[in-house]
Amino acid sequence: MIDRRQFLQATAAASLLVGAAGLGPLGRVAAQQRLTQADLLRFGAAGTFTLLYMTDLHAQLPPLYFREPSINLGVGEARGRPPHLTDEAFRTRFKVAAGSADAYALTSDDFIALAKSYGRMGGVDRLATLIKAIRAERGADKVLLLDGGDTWQGSWTSLKTNAQDMVDVQAALGVEAMTGHWEFTYGADRVKEIVDKAPFAFLAQNVRENEFGDAVFEPRKTFEKGGAKIAVIGQAFPRTPISNPAWMIPKWEFGLREDDVQKQVDEARAEGADVVVLLSHNGYDVDYKMAGRVKGLDVILAAHTHDAIPEAQQVGSTLIIAAGSHGKFLARLDLDVKDKKVSGYRFRLIPVFSDAIAPDAEMAALVGKIRAPFEKDLARELGRTETLLYRRGNFNGTFDDLICQAMLKQRDAEISLSPGFRWGGTLTPGDAITFDALANATAMTYPACYRMEMTGAQMKAVLEDVADNIFHPDPYFQGGGDMVRVGGVGYSIDVSKPVNQRISGLTELKTGKPLDADRKYVVAGWASVNKGTEGPPIWDVVEKHLADVKTVRLEPNTSVKVTGA
């Protein structure tokens, strides 16, 4: 029988080296190049079956650097609650030593030095090694591999192959079910074409045909592992037609549909499910609220907001697993099932340190084959950076500062806007900026860099609207993502205020003058959700800019002043 307390202890980040006492923190081992694949896989199989979970891969095939946010504010009840903890506060909460391998994987400070010590993370060939090893250890019939979505978008190869590269990788990994969000930006026809042929299930209970409300996808699927019946309910990103181009999926409606989640749970139980899992692209805070309102969910596999939380979080009797993004982590959850109920669990968020894991040869060959036709483009060096280039953070990131500067210069604009995406890799000082790296931060199906006029009042309205999407105190009114990045303009934001009262002090940075509410400004931006948006693809704009500046050197961005946190 599995002791729940013992499980809980095993989940603590501080005891990541379960059974390897005396070796010290994982970090030092890695730094001394003694961190091994075995250390990462050490777990102690428990219970009836193993659930493996990865999410928000954003089409990253090779290993990469990915810096976690230094600012990740929670509002309302989520304030100070995981995942809204960063750096020191995060390490204190999860007992992670500063400078350790776990600190490098999970927090942002000292990133440059730690990146040198611990190297790149992720890589689907490394993921394949871990997954194969765990299947071999437990027996494949006791392992269920699930994917939380945002898998098909985020690289040049995924864009150019219409996601076929990622579908092939998922098939090779043995993914059994997924749900989606950015997947839908390939358009309804392509999504349906893939789903009809894929060897895995695409589950989305909350996507409906908008005339009669018919289900577009399979809502749930039951798997049998280790003798247990596991019902997996899919929940696609509920705000897809608002956050991404609705015209690409004109006949589909989304939404939270909480009552329907409950119905799915009840039906699954009635059909004899022992374990009910919500494979959710809601975003963490939405999942947290839903966990407290929908009865009978054993596990929520959280996605969308890219949070990496080294312990399973619990709301009532529901476990929430947040497994990060970009292939940095593989979540392993062993569940014990007794009398048709979950009676215990053991969890580990396995950091995928690429230097410590032997690449799986078959997967490495597949990645090579996928990238070969594009290798000339991918390897093209556009410039170099002397500044750490990253994206994650609520208000700005240096990669977006670069993109905003490129738009100001290349599109002759006074103000530039770059969406608050959470995907895209990190480059360390001294790195070459290859087209591959640029595409990792920009590749998407609606990349036009538009140029238009907006008044100061309109600019404020836009910032207010986006801010409400992130800082509305009720997570059911949030859409995920970070604040839109702004070039050429500074502002103050009080995140504790209600909509239309958060933004103040809009200032034109060049002149230091307040933005004139009535004056029209020339604005450049990209990733408009509207059909027929005109302009060059954003990667061309940034490439041109890099050809001009050659070396990127960015001053710290102090143009956004944050209060109320």
């Binding site: 990103f237 956050s243 409400d468 009114f477 931006g525 509207n530």
Partner: protein
């Protein structure tokens, strides 16, 4: 089903990138407010007491398309000759006109349930009033956010 909804004078901006900001940038027209909704209800029912409860008002928290926002109203009632829902009225406090739709029911309806789609010009409250056969009144309210879109994740 009769709709008292008046089409907005606002034309939808649809050309080019500016449409991204259509909802936020629409020219400011005179919109209804909470008081106008209260006045409409007063016109129908005077100062009669209105209780919370009985109504399940199903609207999205965030509209996927402000032009066609789905709404479903269910009122708890046995729908017998002795006890049934007579009417349901829906109002929106941020549209050019507060009225959205009014339904009337008879016991023969079997249940007091209705669905339609409404246009919402901006983020606002949708207010629903149910009049029972014994004269009792119930209300429910829900905020629907109409946003300009754009994304993170």
């Amino acid at each position: 089903m009769s709709s008292t909804f008046t089409p907005s004078r606002r034309t939808v901006l649809s050309a080019g990138a500016i449409a991204a900001f259509a909802a936020a940038l629409a020219p400011r027209l005179a919109f209804a407010d909470e008081k106008m909704v209260a006045d409409e209800i007063k016109k129908l029912y005077g100062d009669k007491k209105i209780d919370a409860g009985k109504i399940k008002l199903d609207v999205p928290q965030i509209a996927e398309n402000g032009l066609v926002v789905p709404i479903t109203v269910d009122v708890e009632s046995p729908m017998t000759d002795a006890d049934f829902v007579k009417a349901v009225h829906v109002f929106a406090d941020g549209n050019p006109q507060p009225g959205v739709v009014s339904y009337t029911f008879t016991p023969d309806c079997g249940k007091a349930s209705a669905s339609t789609r409404m246009r919402l010009a901006q983020t606002q409250n949708v207010v629903c009033i149910a009049e029972m056969s014994n004269g009792a009144l119930y209300t429910a309210k829900a905020e629907v956010k109409v946003t300009i879109g754009g994304c993170g994740g």
